[in-house]
């Protein structure tokens, strides 16, 4: 093996070396063995190292030889370098991460529940967050020479950060927290502290009641009208709202059957299946995994989907796999109804599933054989469905086409979502 003595080479040749590094695949094809050893091979060198190798060419010989060990020069066997794509989301967090600062125990508990996926789903997370914040607010004491309306927010910020480190914030949590901050900043300075805290907790209760609980009931009323006797309803994974709609339609003695499509790794559809099949009289259900969808979509009359959030351009951010169900339904002219409360609307525009997503933690990944540590499991939890695949969105203000969500604030008499 010929080792290039880079330190001795004139400058322009070193530059060529770097250029040849970048064009490596072409070189590999032409000259097999010697070139592979000469230039840092892709699988041996994580990205930071290759940059290090190119920039600190004076120290190059040692780096190139055992570059796999990392910049600190440790000589481990080539260890996994993490995922190349989706690495901008950050790697999935391991539980038991450090607690920085003075975090309320309710928030610590919540963070742990989030990272363990014990509380899962946009609505559940939002309600749990707001309930925990009520405890935090009640336990809060305004320090002297400070007002509640100004200091409480700075007190809440590290709590929110702690939750975000456990699991990235959902749009529902974000909207709720924004509303809470608005209420806090608007709270009357002259009120005695306990009254102000009670007022805030009351506002939180109202928010949960109006925009989640009652909104769900209105959506159920609207959606069950679209389910007729003899229909076959298809749904994906487990949306709390779709579950409520199906149970309500069943209690109204409508005769329909349900196809539940599920996917790994979370297999949330099993919980939905259990709750639907436990009704009296039992609801006829079919359960299948996502690859079986093309055969089953032909029988479906209507598709009901839930969402994590709905964006300003009409695209839907929901559990990974939802986009496939919606697109296939569109191809077969099956109407797709998306059930979504208005508090899930986001001002942002989402064009694809790559800009914003979340990776499932490693405990959900399939077993990777130890011998092949070059294999990484990639488990994005969410995907983006384009607005063209959705027929109607059911919200508490009625059925609207997905492109019209910007008219909703007007309908609710607000200036913002």
């Amino acid at each position: 093996m010929r080792m290039p003595s880079l330190s001795a080479k004139p400058k322009n040749e070193r530059k060529d070396e770097r250029d040849r590094n970048n064009n490596e695949p072409r070189k590999l094809h032409r000259n097999n063995n010697s070139r592979v050893r000469e230039y840092p091979a892709l699988q041996d060198h994580p990205l930071p190292n290759r940059r290090a190798a190119a920039s600190t060419s004076k120290d190059a010989p040692t780096n190139i030889r055992d570059g796999a060990g990392g910049p600190d020069g440790s000589s481990d066997s080539p260890k996994s370098r993490g995922l190349r794509i989706f690495s901008h989301f950050g790697l999935p967090k391991t539980p038991g991460h450090q607690i920085k600062g003075d975090i309320h125990p309710a928030i610590v508990k919540l963070g742990l529940q989030f990272s363990e996926f014990k509380i899962c789903g946009a609505n559940a997370r939002c309600i749990a967050t707001l309930t925990a914040f009520k405890t935090v607010i009640q336990d809060y004491v305004t320090p002297p020479h400070n007002t509640l309306s100004r200091h409480l927010m700075t007190h809440l910020s590290p709590q929110i950060t702690h939750l975000v480190t456990a699991r990235p914030m959902s749009v529902t949590m974000g909207n709720a927290i924004r509303q809470l901050k608005l209420e806090i900043s608007g709270s009357d300075i002259d009120l005695p502290e306990q009254d102000a805290k009670d007022a805030l907790c009351h506002k939180i209760d109202e928010y949960i009641r109006d925009r989640i609980i009652i909104a769900d009931e209105v959506i159920e009323d609207l959606a069950v009208k679209k389910i007729k006797d003899g229909d076959v309803v298809l749904t994906y994974a487990r949306s709390s709202l779709v579950e409520k709609i199906l149970l309500r339609a069943h209690s109204l003695d409508k005769r329909f059957s349900v196809i539940v499509i599920d996917s790994r790794p979370l297999l949330e559809g099993k919980t939905l299946l259990h709750s639907l099949a436990s009704t009296v009289p039992p609801l006829p259900c079919t359960y299948a995994l996502l690859p079986a969808l093309p055969s089953l979509i032909i029988d479906a009359d209507i598709v009901l989907l839930g969402a994590h959030s709905l964006h300003a351009n009409g695209s839907v951010y929901s559990r990974a796999g939802t986009a496939m169900v919606a697109m296939l339904a569109k191809e077969h002219s099956v109407p797709v109804m998306l059930c979504c409360e208005t508090y899930k609307f986001s001002d942002t525009v989402m064009l694809d599933g790559f800009g914003k997503n979340e990776l499932a933690p490693t405990k959900f990944s399939p077993e990777v054989p130890k011998s092949n540590s070059n294999l990484e499991a990639l488990n994005p939890l969410y995907d983006s469905t384009p607005a063209s695949c959705i027929t109607a969105v059911v919200t508490e203000v009625g059925l609207i086409p997905p492109t019209s969500i910007s008219s909703i604030p007007l309908a609710l008499g607000r200036t913002t979502l």
Partner: protein, 331 residues
């Protein structure tokens, strides 16, 4: 006012050629209000809702009617209630209802002027009989050189009426078979369609055949314009053709197959009748009335097939229709 009376007044109003179904419904409700003995707003609204339901039940195609009734009831609910007494309020509401109906008659002219800007020396395809389309074409004829293809619109043949009226006015016009639209589409510059209702999704509910023409226009890349007065905008959201309130499950059923199979069973034969042609069947005759009865009256055109909706509130894209409706009804 009893159910029969309101139904009669509605039918009487419909006889007026100029009034479309939503306007006739609004005027019928106004008349009902005149004769009502309600003492409070709540009672009045209940009576109105009951009357709207009666009218809807007695009509085979209640979509336009529903749109008009809902608009009127919404208007009454949102009207400021600061009159001195209830009877004054009622009088004011009745006056408003009648005034609205009068103003609404001018909507067709407004729409015609709006659509006029989109018409050059063109060939236009239209479907069946629509008063707003007629008014637009007559106005365009005064200043532009247009020619019109009208579909026959079976089984009622209303397209022939349109063609006769256009020819009388001097517009070059011809009747196209419903099945020849795909043949003729290349000769046409754009499609102009009236409407029974424009729905929340931005789609169009109109005489049966409109959906077909829209699909053909899309395939041939011709613009498809819908003309609709604002009182035809309805908050309904059909998910498919069969989700319309006028949908009758008996439509497009197979009457012959049922009766053929019933005969062997009733005669008590134990063997399975493999051939349905039993000896006691006379040759079946199908009449035009049978066909007309067994076929739908209206169909639903999806919003992605429609280019623009022209209305008295302006020209809207199908997506914009929902924004307008949400602003009107949910605010």
């Amino acid at each position: 006012m009893t159910d029969l009376q309101i139904h009669e007044s509605y039918q009487r109003l419909l006889k007026n050629e100029n009034l479309s179904t939503p306007l006739a419904a609004i005027l019928a409700l106004t008349e009902m209000m005149k004769q009502s003995n309600a003492g409070t707003m709540f009672e009045l609204l209940n009576e109105l809702k009951g009357a709207a339901e009666t009218l809807s039940k007695n009509s085979s195609n209640p979509i336009g009617l529903n749109a008009g009734c809902e608009l009127f009831i919404e208007f009454i609910t949102l009207f400021p209630h600061d009159a001195a007494s209830f009877s004054e309020l009622k009088t004011e509401l009745i006056r408003q209802g009648q005034q609205y109906a009068e103003e609404a008659l001018a909507y067709r002219t407004k729409i015609a002027e709006l659509a006029f800007d989109f018409i050059k020396d063109d060939s236009i395809l239209t479907h069946s009989y629509s008063r707003v389309v007629l008014q637009t074409l007559l106005m365009a004829h005064k200043r532009k050189r247009i020619s019109v293809f009208v579909t026959e619109a079976r089984p009622r043949g209303m397209g022939i009426k349109t063609a006769e009226m256009l020819t009388t006015a001097g517009i070059p016009c011809t009747v196209v078979l419903d099945s020849a639209v795909a043949y003729a589409i290349e000769k046409v510059d754009f499609v102009l369609m009236g409407s029974e209702a424009v729905v929340e999704s931005g789609g169009l509910v109109n005489a049966v055949g409109s959906n077909q023409i829209a699909i053909i226009a899309k395939a041939a890349n011709k613009p498809f314009y819908a003309l609709a007065e604002s009182y035809k905008f309805h908050r309904m959201f059909p998910l498919s053709q069969y989700d319309l309130p006028s949908h009758n499950p008996g439509v497009l059923s197979f009457p012959q197959a049922l009766s053929a199979r019933a005969r062997p069973a009733s005669s008590g034969l134990s063997s399975e009748s493999s051939s349905g042609f039993s000896s006691n069947s006379s040759p079946i005759k199908i009449s035009q009335e049978d066909i007309a009865r067994n076929n739908p009256d209206v169909d639903y055109t999806r919003p992605d097939l429609i280019s623009l909706v022209f209305s008295d509130v302006g020209s809207l894209t199908p997506e914009g229709v929902s924004q307008y409706l949400v602003g009107m009804f949910a605010g």
